[in-house]
C-alpha cells in the first residue's frame, strides 16, 4: 500500500539507471541518513556510540571491501584482517612521519597502501581459483601478521609493539586521541563510511562493477567478451583491500585509540568479516551492512542489552550464551535463507509491494 511504484514513470535513461529508482527508497535513505547524522549523535548514549555504532561502521566498511572481492568478483579471500592491518600500520607510519597533514587524509590514504599490498597478493588469483585461492590469501594473512610483529619499524620501535595514537584535529576539533569526543569520532567515521559506500555503489553499478560480475559468473566467457582478466581481478583486489585498509585505519584511530595492534588483525578477524559477508549476502551492498550489524552488534546487545532490560545475566554466563545464540542464529539464517539477510530483505520488499492484496 505504501511501498508501491505505481505512477512513478521513468522518462529518461538517467532515471532508469538510478540506484534508487523508487521514491520510497529515496525517502528511506534520506531518513536513515538523518537518523545516523543527526539523531544518533544528539540523542544516543555514549555507550551506543562507542560500543555499538562505531564498531558497526568499521565492520561495515570492511565487509563492503570483502564483498567487492568475494561477493561481486567471486574471489575468496581470507586475508581481510591482514589488509586491515596494513591500513592501520600505514596510517600510523604516515601520521608519525607527517604529523602536520590531517589525520582524516591519512586514514583514507592508507587505503592505497593496503590496495598495493592487496594487488601483490592478488597476483596468484589469475592462476588459481576457489579453495586454492583462499589458501593463497591465507598466506597473506600469516605473512603480513608476521610483519606487524617482526618489523619494529612499523610500530616505531615501541617496546610493547603497540600503536600509539596521538592527538590530531580536524577543523580545530580533536578527532583522535583520548581527548577526542565520541561524537567527533563518530561523525568522522560516519562521513568516511557514507562517502565510501556511495563510491562503492557507483563502482558496482558501472562498467567496472559489471566486469567484476562477469568474471564472477564465468571468467572464460568474460575473457571472450574482451574483459582483461588480469586487470579486472587485480582491480578487484585493489578496491577490496582499499576498503579493508581504510576500515583498519579507522578501527585503530577512531575506535580503539591505539594499543596492541597486531593481534587485532589476526585470522579470526578475517573469518569474522567473511561471516559478515556470507550472512549479510554475497554481492549486495546492503548485505554488508546487515552482516556487520548482525555479527558485531548482536553480541554487544545480548551482553549489555539483556541485563539492562532486567534479565539478569552475569559475566561468563552472558558470554557463553552469546556464543550459543549467535551460533544458533547463524545456522538458522543460513537454513532459512542461504543467500543471506539481503535476500530476506528483498523478499520482504517484494511482499510489501503487494501488501495488503497479494495475488
Amino acid at each position: 500500500m505504501f511501498y508501491r511504484e505505481t505512477g512513478q514513470f521513468k522518462t529518461n535513461y538517467a532515471d532508469d539507471m538510478a540506484v534508487f529508482p523508487i521514491l520510497q527508497d529515496r525517502i528511506g535513505i534520506a531518513l536513515i541518513l538523518v537518523l545516523a547524522f543527526v539523531v544518533i549523535p544528539l540523542a544516543g548514549s555514549n555507550f551506543l556510540l562507542s560500543s555499538v555504532m562505531i564498531p558497526f561502521l568499521v565492520f561495515s566498511l570492511a565487509s563492503i571491501g570483502l564483498n567487492i572481492l568475494t561477493g561481486y568478483t567471486g574471489l575468496i579471500s581470507l586475508g581481510t584482517g591482514a589488509f586491515m592491518g596494513v591500513g592501520a600500520y600505514a596510517c600510523y607510519k604516515l601520521t608519525t612521519l607527517f604529523p602536520e597533514v590531517n589525520i582524516v587524509v591519512w586514514i583514507v590514504a592508507s587505503g592505497f597502501f593496503s590496495a598495493l599490498v592487496g594487488v601483490l597478493f592478488g597476483l596468484p588469483s589469475l592462476r588459481i581459483k576457489g579453495f586454492y585461492l583462499a589458501v593463497a590469501t591465507l598466506a597473506a594473512q600469516f605473512f603480513l601478521q608476521w610483519c606487524f610483529t617482526r618489523i619494529p619499524w612499523l610500530y616505531n620501535y615501541n617496546a610493547s609493539g603497540a600503536i600509539e595514537v596521538g592527538q590530531r584535529t580536524l577543523f580545530g576539533i580533536n578527532v583522535t586521541g583520548a581527548k577526542a569526543s565520541l561524537e567527533a569520532r563518530y561523525m568522522v567515521l560516519l562521513t568516511i563510511v557514507t562517502v565510501l559506500t556511495w563510491v562503492a555503489s557507483n563502482i558496482m553499478h558501472g562498467r567496472i562493477g559489471r566486469s567484476f560480475m562477469a568474471v564472477r559468473d564465468m571468467d572464460i566467457a568474460a575473457e571472450l567478451m574482451g574483459i582483461d582478466l588480469l586487470k579486472t581481478k587485480l582491480l578487484a583486489f585493489a578496491v577490496s583491500s582499499f576498503y579493508a585498509g581504510v576500515a583498519g585505519a579507522a578501527m585503530m584511530f577512531l575506535w580503539y585509540g591505539g594499543g596492541e595492534a597486531n593481534d587485532a588483525f589476526n585470522i579470526n578477524q578475517s573469518f569474522l568479516i567473511l561471516f559478515m559477508v556470507i550472512i549479510g549476502g554475497l554481492g549486495s551492498m546492503i548485505g554488508s551492512f546487515f552482516g556487520a550489524a548482525f555479527i558485531s552488534m548482536l553480541p554487544t546487545v545480548l551482553k549489555f542489552g539483556l541485563p539492562a532490560l532486567g534479565i539478569p545475566l552475569a559475566g561468563a554466563t552472558a558470554e557463553h550464551l552469546t556464543y550459543i545464540l549467535v551460533g544458533a542464529l547463524i545456522i538458522f539464517f543460513l537454513i532459512v535463507e542461504p543467500h543471506g539477510l539481503a535476500r530476506l530483505w528483498q523478499i520482504g520488499k517484494q511482499k510489501l509491494r503487494m501488501w495488503p492484496f497479494p495475488y
Partner: protein, 441 residues
C-alpha cells in the same frame, strides 16, 4: 539494493532506546562502584578464573564482614572481557557512566588502550604488576598504577637469581639464556632491557616468541630450545601458554630447575604434568588460607555460596594474587576516605588514595593478612614501589619458597623506565603534564 540502511538504522534506534534506559540504571547512592574486568572464558580463562574469584571474594568478604569499606558497601560488578581488547573497551564504555572509582583491566592490551583515557575520564587504572612498565612514573602517568613491581623489575630479579645460581652475576658471562615469551605487548616489553643486560653482562640471549594464536602449540619453539641448549630458560607467559610451555619443556627433557618464569603461572599450569617438579617462578605474596582474612572469606563468602570458586581452590597462588589486587583496591579506597573525609569517594579521590597507599607490617596485620606480602608504599612520584619478590619452586604438589626477597636492579631499570616514559609522552603528542597536586604524606 535499496533502503540499505533502514533495518540497521531501525535496529540501532531500538537499541538506542534500550541503552538510554540502561545508562541511569543506578548504583545505589551509598555505595562505591568497583568494576572488575575478568575473563572466565577464552584461552586465558585458566589464569583468569582464580584471579577473578580472588578479587571478587575479598571485596565480597569486606561487604559481609565490615559492611564494605568505611561503612560504605562496595558495588562489585564483573564484566567479561575474554582478554580481548575489543571486549575490554566495550566493558569500559559500559561501566564508565556508573562512575567507577577505578578499573582493573587485567590485560596488558586493554591497559595500553585505557592509559590515555584515564586522565581524561578521571578514572584511575590499577594494573597490578602488568601493563605499561613506564607507568610507574607517577609524574608522567598520574592516573595509572602498576604496583608492586614492573616487568623490568621482574626480569632484573630473575637475572639476579640466575646470577646467584651460577655463583655471581659476573659468572653469567658466556652463558646462554633463552627467553620464551608471549608475543604481545606483555612479553615484548622486557626485550630491550634483556638485550641491554646481555650486552652488559656478556651472556647470549636467545628469543623464542610464542604468537598469541599458537599458545597451545609450542613444539617448534621448544625444538629450537633443544637445538640451542640454553643454560637457563626465562618465561613470560599467560593463560594457556604456561601449561603448554611446561609440558613441552618436560617433553624435551629440559632441566626444570633451570626454567624460571615471571609471576604468572599458577598451580593449574604445573599440576598434573609429570616431571614439572623443579619448575621455578617469581612471587611476592603468601599462598594458602592460613590468614585470618582468608578464613573470613571461607566462612563468610565461600561457605555461604556467594563465591564462584570451588572450595579447594581458595588460597591457591593465583587466587591469592586476586586477593592481593583486591587489597590494593580496598586500600586505595580506604586511604581516599581518610584523606578526603568523605564516605563515598570518586575516581579522583581514589587516585589520591592509591598514591598514599602504605601497606606496612602493621597494616597487613590489621587487615587480617599478617606477613602476606612485603611492604608497599606508593608516592606521587612512584606508582609502582619496585618491590622485591622471591623465587618459589614446584615440588610436585605445592609451591615452596626457596629464596629470600631478591632486590631488583634500580640502576638498570630506572634509566630504561625514564627513557620509556619520556618517549611515551613525546610520541603521544599533547600528553598532558601532571596537573594533579601531590599530597603530603
Amino acid at each position: 539494493m535499496s533502503k540499505r540502511l533502514k533495518v540497521s538504522g531501525l535496529a540501532a534506534g531500538v537499541l538506542a532506546s534500550s541503552l538510554m534506559m540502561a545508562a541511569p540504571q543506578a548504583v545505589a547512592q551509598e555505595s562505591i562502584y568497583v568494576p572488575l574486568f575478568t575473563y572466565r572464558t577464552g584461552p586465558f580463562a585458566g589464569s583468569g578464573i582464580p584471579i577473578a574469584d580472588g578479587m571478587h571474594d575479598y571485596l565480597q568478604m569486606l561487604n559481609e564482614r565490615d559492611g564494605g569499606i568505611g561503612g560504605v558497601k562496595i558495588a562489585i560488578d564483573e564484566c567479561e572481557t575474554g582478554y580481548d581488547t575489543k571486549k575490554g573497551l566495550e566493558c569500559y564504555d559500559a561501566v564508565k557512566p556508573k562512575k567507577p572509582v577505578m578499573v582493573n583491566p587485567w590485560s596488558t592490551g586493554i591497559s595500553l588502550s585505557l592509559i590515555p583515557k584515564a586522565s581524561v575520564d578521571k578514572i584511575p587504572v590499577l594494573s597490578m604488576a602488568y601493563g605499561l612498565s613506564a607507568s610507574a612514573r607517577g609524574d608522567v602517568f598520574p592516573w595509572v598504577f602498576n604496583p608492586p613491581a614492573t616487568y623490568w623489575d621482574g626480569l632484573a630479579m630473575i637475572i639476579r637469581y640466575l646470577g646467584t645460581e651460577s655463583g655471581g652475576l659476573d659468572k653469567l658471562k658466556g652463558k646462554k639464556i633463552g627467553y620464551i615469551y608471549f608475543d604481545g605487548g606483555f612479553g615484548k616489553e622486557p626485550i630491550p632491557l634483556f638485550e641491554q643486560m646481555a650486552k652488559d653482562m656478556g651472556f647470549e640471549l636467545k628469543l623464542y616468541p610464542v604468537p598469541p594464536g599458537e599458545m597451545q602449540n609450542q613444539s617448534s619453539q621448544w625444538l629450537s630450545v633443544r637445538r640451542d641448549r640454553p643454560d637457563f630458560m626465562v618465561m613470560y607467559g599467560w593463560g594457556a601458554m604456561n601449561p603448554t610451555a611446561v609440558k613441552e619443556a618436560v617433553k624435551i627433557n629440559y632441566p626444570m630447575d633451570k626454567f624460571v618464569s615471571i609471576w604468572w603461572p599458577g598451580e593449574n599450569d604445573v599440576n598434573g604434568t609429570e616431571g614439572a617438579k623443579g619448575f621455578k617462578m617469581l612471587n611476592w605474596h603468601g599462598i594458602g588460607t592460613d590468614y585470618p582474612a582468608l578464613k573470613d572469606i571461607q566462612k563468610l563468602v565461600v561457605d555461604k555460596g556467594l563465591s564462584k570458586s570451588p572450595k579447594e581452590k581458595v588460597g591457591e597462588l593465583l587466587y591469592n594474587r586476586g586477593v592481593y589486587n583486591a587489597i590494593l583496591i580496598a586500600e586505595g579506597i580506604a586511604q581516599a576516605q581518610k584523606i578526603t573525609g568523605k564516605k563515598v569517594v570518586d575516581g579522583s579521590d581514589v587516585r589520591r588514595g592509591l598514591e598514599n597507599i602504605n601497606l606496612d607490617e602493621a597494616r597487613f596485620k590489621a587487615i587480617g593478612l599478617p606477613a602476606f606480602a612485603g611492604n608497599l608504599q606508593l608516592t606521587c612520584q612512584d606508582h609502582n614501589g619496585h618491590r622485591a619478590a622471591f623465587i618459589q619452586q614446584w615440588d610436585g604438589a605445592k609451591w615452596v619458597k626457596i629464596t629470600d626477597f631478591i632486590q631488583p636492579m634500580p640502576e638498570k631499570v630506572k634509566p630504561a623506565l625514564d627513557e620509556a616514559a619520556k618517549e611515551y609522552s613525546e610520541k603521544n603528542a599533547g600528553w598532558p603534564k601532571r596537573s594533579e597536586a601531590c599530597d603530603k604524606s
